[in-house]
Structures are given as C-alpha cells and as structure tokens.
Symmetry: D2
Subunit: 335 residues, 4 copies
C-alpha cells in the first residue's frame, strides 16, 4: 500500500500514523520527493482500510498494491475452482445452465418446468421461495412451502436446486438445498455472509447493484474466510443512469473476474435486462465472453402468471436457446 | 398506473393481462390512439409491480401515477412526524445534532466524548458497536460490550443513544437502545426491516448507496406497514462516477423528501464525503437546505485512533460547528 | 405524451398549458380520475420537450408514448440501413471489422498496419489524426498531416478510412475521408452534428460517456434531419461507479438499438475496457450479441509507442481474433 | 506518478517503458518489493496520460501523485482568483447572483427581467441566445438576434451579460459579450476550449454531466494554458441513477474545488434540479457551502412561456430569495 502525504504534513500526526501501522506489523518506508512524501507500506495490509487512511488530514491519497482478498485471489490459487453438486459441476470448462421460474407457485408448475428445462440441457433448477421485493405489498414468495416443492422437483428430475436465502434464521431450512443464493441486495449483509461461511453448501453470490469488483470479491472473502470455499459469483447487471433496461449487464465483469479470481463466474441475463425478449439476444454474449454458466428464468405460462412473466422466457424458447448456447460454448473452446 | 402497449398487441396476452389486473380489483380503462393503445389502471395499484408489467411482451412502457408508499406518503399525512426520545425530539422545526465516535472503543472514550458533545449542544449520542466493514479482516466493532458502554455514557449524560444493528438476532440486545440505526448496506435487508416494524423503537434508516428516493421510502414503508411509524430518514451520500470523495452528498434529497414524505430527514456529512476536513464546510449546506438534523462523527483523539480518525472531527471543531449550525438554523427559520 | 397533473392544479396555469400545446397543433384529452387528472397529448409531440413540461408547477410527471426520433426510428423504417463505402458495406448481415492504430504516427506505421489488418480480414482502416485528449499537455495528434497519411494507406490497400473530426472548421479537409467519426465527447456538440447533416459522408457516431439510448438516437436525428441518413452508431462503453476498467461495455445496447432503430450498430471494445489484454475476450461478446461490426485498435509496435500501446493489440493477435470472430458470426447467423 | 508493475514483468517491455519515460525527461526510481515492483516517476508528469500507462500489459496500476493541472492548481497559485467585469467582480468574498431567463424571447422580456433582477441585487444578467437542445425539433434559440437584445438589456441596466457559445464560428459575435458560457455538453469540446484560451473574455465553464473534478479542471487548463486565466467554474448537477430530479447537485464540489483550485466556483440550482419549486430550497445550500455565487433562471411570465417556465422562478420569488441569500452570505462570513 502506498500513502501519498500532503505537502508539509504535521509531524505529530505522521508519527502517530507510523506508530499505529507498526503496531499492526506493517513496516513503513518513507521516501521524500520534491513535492510530496510517500510512504510504502510492507506487510499484511489486507486488514488496513484505505478509506480510513485516506481520510486523515495529512494524507493526500492512498493506493493499494496488493489486493485485499486472499482466499478469492487467483494469485494465490491459480487453478480454477470447480464446484460439484450432485451429478453436475460448475466451473472447469463446463457450461452450466441453471433454469427455472422466478417464483415457485405450485407443485405442478415447478415439476413441469423442471422436467422441461432438464430435457433442454439445464443441469441446475432455480426457483424462488423467499422473494426480495421492493414493496411490502408485493407477493413475498411461498416461503418454506416453496422450498418443499423445489425438493419434490429435484426428486422427480435429479436436478440440484438453487434458491435464495433472505434471513439467517432460515438457514436450518436450507440444509437440504444444493446451492444457496445470496441476492444482490444482501451482498453486503455481512452477518449473513459470515453464517454462510460456517456451513458447507455452495453459495451463489450475486453482485450488488452498485458493487465494485473488489467489494464483491471481499463479500466472497467473508464466506471463504469462514471456511466455505464453494462460492459462485453471479453478474446480474449494475445500476447506471440508463433506465430503458432495469440494469446494465457488465459483460466485462466476466473477463475481469477470470483475471482476478479462481472462482466460477455465471451470468443472469434475465435480471440484467428485465425484459424477456432481450434474454435470448444477450445470453450468447455471456457465453462468448467466457462465463461458466447462465441462470435463466423460464416459465411455462407467462401470460397467466404476470407476477413472473416479464423477464421469463418460455420452455420452447429456452430449448432453442440452450442448444445455441451449447454449440457456441463448443465453438469458443476450440483452439 | 398507465400502461402503454406496443403496436398491435397480441390479443390473448392482452386479455390475460386485463383479467389478471381485474382479479386484483384493479379496473382498466382502455384508450385506443392512432399509434398506441393505453391502459389506465384505477384502484389500489400499490401492490402492482411496474417492472413486472413493463417486462411483458405486449407492453411498451409503464408509468405510475400514484406513489406506491402509503404510510410514508405526505399526501395522506400532511403533518410532519415528530419523534420523541427521552428529553428530546427529532423533526417539527428542531435542529437535532447527533454526534459521537465512529466506533465505541472504551468507557473513558465514549463517556468523554458524550460529555463534550452534550456541552456543545448535541442531543443524541452516536457510536458504533457493530461495524459493517467491507473486509472480514477489519475490526468489526466491540459488539455487545460496546452497547453496554453506550448505555453507561447515556447514564452519565442523559443523551439518548443511536447505534447500528446488523443482525436480527441481536434485536433483544437493542431493546434498551433509544434509536436503532439501519446502515446503507442493509437498506433493502427486508427481513430486518420487517422485524423492526414489529417493535417500537425509532429507526434511523440510512439511504442505500444507490437507492432511489422511491426505493428508500419503500424500505421505510416496510417498517411502517408493520406498525412502527417512528422512522427517521438519513441521507449519507450516493455512489457515482466521482471517486475523489467516498460518496456524493445528495443535498437535493432533503428538499425532495420534504415534498414526498412527512418523516424527519437528517444528513450524515461524515460518511457522505469521508474526509474530516470537509465536514464543517458541508454540514451548513444541510441546515440551509432544511434538514431536521445532522449526524456527525466526533473523536477526541483521531491521531491515536486511526481506525476512527479519518472522517471524525475533534470535539473543539464540533463545538464551533454546532454553534454555527444553530445560528444558521435560526436564520433560516426567520420569515 | 401523457401528462399527470398534481392534485388540484391551478386552473390558470392549466389553461395556459393547454393553450400553449394547442398552439403547437397538439390536441389535449383531459381525463379526470379520483386522485389525479391526466392529459393525453395527441399529435406531433416530437417537438415537445418533456423536461420543460415536467418542470411546471402543476405537473406531477410526464411520460412519452411516442419516441421523439423519427428518421432513426425503426417503426417508420423497418428495413435495416446498409451503408456502402467503396467496395464494402456496413450493416445488412455483414460483419465489419474496422482496425488500425489509435494515432497515425508515420507513413511506414499506418501503411504497414493497414496491410496487415487487411490481410486479416478488416474492411475499414481506422486511425486518429486529431486526438481528443483530456489534457492540453498530451499529444494532440498529427492533424492534417495524419489525414494525408491515412489517404496514402488507403491508396496502398483499397481500405476505406474512418477518422475523427473535432472541429467544424476542419470539415473541408475531411471531404476525402470515407467515414467521419464523431467522438464520445462531441456526441452532443449540436453545431457539429448539424454540419455533418448537411454533407453526405457516412458518420460514425460514438455514444457519449453517460448518454442514454434516447439522447444518442436524438444526436443521430440531428444528422439525419439535415438530410444525411448514413449514420453508424458505435457503443464504446459508459461511465459508471466501477473504476477497474476505463468504462463499462453496455452489451445490451446492441440488442436495444436493434429494437429501436434501423441504423447499423458497431462496438468498440478497445475504448470500452481500456486494456489491450481484455479486447480479445470481450470482442466475441459483441458479435454474439448481434453487432454489425467492431472497431479495434491494432498497433504493430506497442512497446515503442506507449502513447498508443495500452489498448491496442498487435497485428498477430488481431489476425487470430478476426478469424475467431468471423467463425462466430457465421455460427450466430445459422438457423 | 507511481506505477505498480505486475508480478514478473516482461523485461523488454519494462525497458521500453523506462526508455520512453526518460525520453520525456522523467526520471524513474525502481523499488522492488516482495510481491510487486514499483516505479516512482519524478519530473513533469503532467504530460503523461496515466490511462495509457495503466493499459500496458506489464502494468498493474498507476497512481498520480501530482495533479495534472498547473495553471488551475491552488498549490501554485494560493490566492483566490477575482474576475472583474464592468462594475462587478466574481470571487474574492463577494456573493455574485447571475439571473435572467433561460432563453431571450423579446426586447420587452429581457429588458423587463433585467431591471427586476437588478433591483433585487443580481449583478450579472444571464439569457440564452443559442440553446443546446437534445432534440433538433426543439426551439434552438434566437441566435444572433438574441445577443443583440441582451446588449440592449445591458445598456438599460448596466448589468454585464453572460450567455452560451455553441460554435467556434460564432466567436466574433461574442466579442461584446461580458462572460462567455461553455455548456455542460461542450465541457470537453477541446477545439472550442482552445479558441477561448486565445481571447480575453472571462469564461463560465459548466461541469460536464459526468465529468470528474480532475477532468473539469483539465478543461479549465485548456483555456488557461492558452493565456486566458479568467475562468469561472459552474457546478450544475451530475448524472446519476436517480431520475426524480434531472440531475443531482453535487454540493461537495464547492468544497473540493476550493481545496484544489483558486478559480471562483458558482452553482446553478435551476439546472441541477430542473424544477422551479426546488430552486429556493436548494440555493441557500450553495451559499452555506461557500460558493462564490449562483446562476438562477428567472422569468416574468412562466405560464405563457412554457418553453422557459419549468426551472424558472418569478421575479418576486427571486427577490425574496436574493435577500435571504445575501443575509446568509453575511452570516457565513462572520467569524
């Protein structure tokens, strides 16, 4: 970490900063230039918050040299992480398609869709039981009953299930879920992340609406530093000034994360754009950019399920899309 | 709510949408124009998620006419909400100054600062016991012990205390706290909001890093619809493209919220800019814009408490600032 | 256009608004609801600025129903525009690769690169003569001399040339350029756009750093309404809160623009990420999303041309990439 | 400037970078750490574009230590710049109120408003003759005729005039204008900035919609490096994810610019929020934050001038506001 001091820094404050750093086992190299003095911090700087230092009166600016994440850092674990759930795997050259409805509505619905998406090549079933909704007056999901229906669909198809947790207190009920999803709005719910680090289920960690890559990886680090290294990152669009689509898919995130981390990276085109008609157009871009998979909303009857319909494509559309994506994946992997 | 349909919408899908709306007791007026058909939705549209409708294939665009929040809506409660805690009040023409350290560190520290800020005119003591930190390797606060120290400081000074909750499971320990703070990163932790709606303590709800006014008010609505109407909104800066300061203080939020809601609005200049030297320059702007109060980080020894220092001003600086702000508040209230 | 009025609007102001609209040949249908009055505006509303109306005291909100662009609107011109320059075309199912150095540096350099990228399958040569630079102290390009060198490279290879204009006064010197580029920072330089509408050369219009789709299309409309319908849109990344990459490539823009306009859409992966190593990873995503082409920076000696190197790939890398992209384009076009 | 290299950088590329820097009279200190090598660049680094270096394959990150602007830098010119126009001044402890209509419409209108705002304490008259409009179909201003009417209003009142230039070719017509305004959309129209540096009139430089402080100051530097040091910076709101108001006023910009530059800083509350009713609420915040002045839209008949009305307050409202602001300015300047 490099600390650029203001001109003529107050000596007492500077001594105090250096003493504080040395207490933390950081050694400090001072280099005095014509216009600025620069401190080079050597040691385990991961625990040093650059915001805290940059806010000091004597400090002009702070620059990290080492990434603050360790377990998630590709430099220390160059091999890609492969996550195995039941008969399938995520990462390591496979293209994983997770598919299913936004919300679980009934046994018939979820089992029906599960069978269809399996036939089309999906290897994980998604479906919301607890739904994070902006409004307290909107449908909040079927809750525990929805979890049970997902398990029935798993039994019928063999597909592992992924579903969102919203509350630490529900963790016991998620014991039998295959992949636990953390939604964008909970990406920095640190209490929840810590708990998920103390159990073994893989975690699908969605990117926060305005989270930087580093913040996202630090949230993964919360889980990993607790002992659970099975984290899947999911890009789902970021918030910008543009309002035509609900979010903007940051396709470059796939490339950047490949460079920074060994964790698998998947893309959620349904939430990124929020419009069903855009999903089949955008999903191929994620595969072409090298994503390990996609999570796609599929509904068998969008017209009679408005609450679910908007960003969901139909099983037939998913079938055509899945074929296209698998062919594309093969093409991209050819030398 | 107004729904603009695409040209030549599929009739089956349109019938299905209308049937679904009517099931929800919404009546639909259809108006056919030269290039577009428009549906006017009349009834309680608060439970209708516009994103869901706008995602339908036949829909071009959706526009709310009524705000989706009720309890928080000034139209239905024109009188400003005044929140009383111990001997003080928030809202209703008072200028409330909440002050104290970022983190509680020791009895001596918190009691010392509490006495100083009280003497300078603060009426609420702030101090973090549970700290939301981006990195799992950073100091996470004193936890329950910090809560106890805050209570000692309250006993010594009579100042009510405000401190952040990060976990529903801690709620029993917050029974004796005067105002419960929800941090920016938990603004859409809906499970937490619901629980806070089922108890009586006032809640200080910070704006999420990239939350719109409507989303913020909908989070207040989560608390209020549970029965707890004592919500204080706190603008603390939003995330933008500019990185010189940690966030950008949205001073217009004060004006807009005054227009939309009856809830008190306070401003946190310390987190908005993240630089102590900026706080005394920016705080007056909040008072001039009509905020009901400010929450300001004050530390008695920033040099020896780097973890806390950056955005904290010293008690002497707070004393001068508080005097300036109170005079400014009186000037702004003169006819 | 729909205008939602505030409750109990001032009658004089309302009459004045209606009179003003009728003067502009807009007929107004008033519909009075329980809580709000709504005005439906029928006629050519393209000239009505919604911001102006929404700022009126009596107005709660304004919603466009018709897009404000006409010439650029796919509804009125469903057939895709195909732009022909010399022996090549842009749009209409072709994949166009525009390639070349950031800046023209010498005859040897530009001719050498032109030959190499042509051999790899590029059909347009790019190269900057006038360079928009944030700092007045940075190299500003070779200027008119650079234009001459581009023409020599064209003569040697037959490749049409695209280069950026920064100043209306240079227009005569661009008479012999094949495609005139308007940079992101000039996307709303309306004087320049108007002039480009009064000449015939195709215009490559880059998206502004924080331009919405509508603003971008309105800038195209400035050119088209002057008589020049040969506009190519170029997505080059938008500005967000993330600073790891220079910009964020908005891959969804390709899909959205396909839906809204008949103009060809190309993608600039070099400026979108600002890092050469990311270009070959991101470029395929643009083809998979359906772009009509890419504009890619290629330099034959990045190490000795730091000013140019950072976001430029080498000719060999371009050669491999171009092959991959053409195969991908064929795969995506298969039924 | 500090350059952090990737681990094990390619030696040829590193040598090439160092040679290139030394050619530019920059000396390079190499410091090899356990995990990273760091280059410290000493000399006049203003001409070095950090984006270019950070894009090199061997480079992990680049950090400026010195600001890239010189003429605009407070470090080299600690005294605040005071700009004198006719009988008034901008900067140096004065509160300047610039007021007038969005667009000049007629002699009667502009002279009438000029007299009224002068009586209320405005010292500069604003009024648009050339209007930058998103749509080519919107009213584009009276043009040269509008300039003449502004001069008549100046003659009648003695108020200096400020108005926007959109085109270099209009510069001769602006010879007799007192302050030339550069709009937000032209903040990086470098050709225009250069020309304005070669003449003597003061320039009011509005911040671009998504311009960082540094980019803004670099645009000022374009003007100043040409010889014209009379630059006034105008904060007018930035673009964010929030759409309730047209832009978000960045009140902290006033504080930050005071710290970075000696140039006067004024605030435009009318464009920042885009709603007339918000202007009197937000304007005091700018004065409390220490702005040197405000530029406010005032119209004598907003109801009959819809094109102008939305963000304009009436002369009576301006009169009350101006009094409040002057009292506030006096209060803020008291010790």
């Amino acid at each position: 970490m490099i600390v650029v001091l203001k001109q003529n820094p107050n000596q007492t404050q500077l001594d105090s900063l250096i003493a504080w750093l040395e207490e933390k086992q950081i050694s400090v190299n001072k280099s005095v230039g014509t216009s600025h003095t620069i401190l080079g911090l050597v040691g385990d700087t991961a625990a040093i918050d650059p915001d805290l230092i940059s806010a000091l009166e004597i400090v002009e600016d702070v620059k990290r040299v080492q990434e603050p994440y360790k377990h998630a850092n590709k430099k220390f674990h160059p091999e890609p992480t492969v996550i195995r759930v039941r008969d399938t795997q995520i990462g390591g050259g496979t293209l994983t398609l997770m598919a299913g409805p936004c919300s679980v509505e009934s046994e018939e619905q979820i089992v029906g869709i599960a069978k269809q998406v399996k036939a089309s090549g999906a290897t994980v079933l998604r479906g919301g039981a607890f739904k994070p909704r902006t409004s307290p007056y909107s449908f909040q999901g079927m809750g525990l009953e929805g979890l049970e229906l997902l398990k029935i669909a798993r039994e019928e198809t063999g597909l592992p299930i992924v579903t969102e947790i919203m509350d630490i207190e529900h963790l016991p009920a998620f014991k039998d879920v295959d992949i636990i999803q953390v939604g964008a709005r909970n990406m920095q719910n640190f209490s929840l992340l810590k708990e998920l680090g103390h159990q073994e289920k893989p975690v699908l960690l969605k990117r926060g609406l305005s989270a930087t890559y580093e913040e996202w990886l630090m949230s993964a680090e919360y889980i990993m530093s607790g002992g659970n290294h099975n984290v899947i990152l999911c890009e789902r669009g970021i918030r910008t000034f543009e309002t035509y689509t609900r979010n903007i898919l940051d396709i470059g995130a796939v490339t950047v994360l490949r460079h920074l981390t060994h964790l698998p990276v998947i893309v959620d085109p349904s939430h990124a754009c929020g419009k069903a008609w855009m999903v089949p157009k955008i999903a191929p871009a994620a595969v072409a950019a090298g994503a390990d998979g996609l999570i796609i909303e599929v509904h068998n009857d969008p017209e009679h399920a408005v609450c679910d319909g908007p960003q969901s494509i139909r099983p037939e559309a998913f079938d055509a899309l899945a074929k296209k994506l698998h062919g594309l994946h093969r093409y991209m992997q050819e030398e």
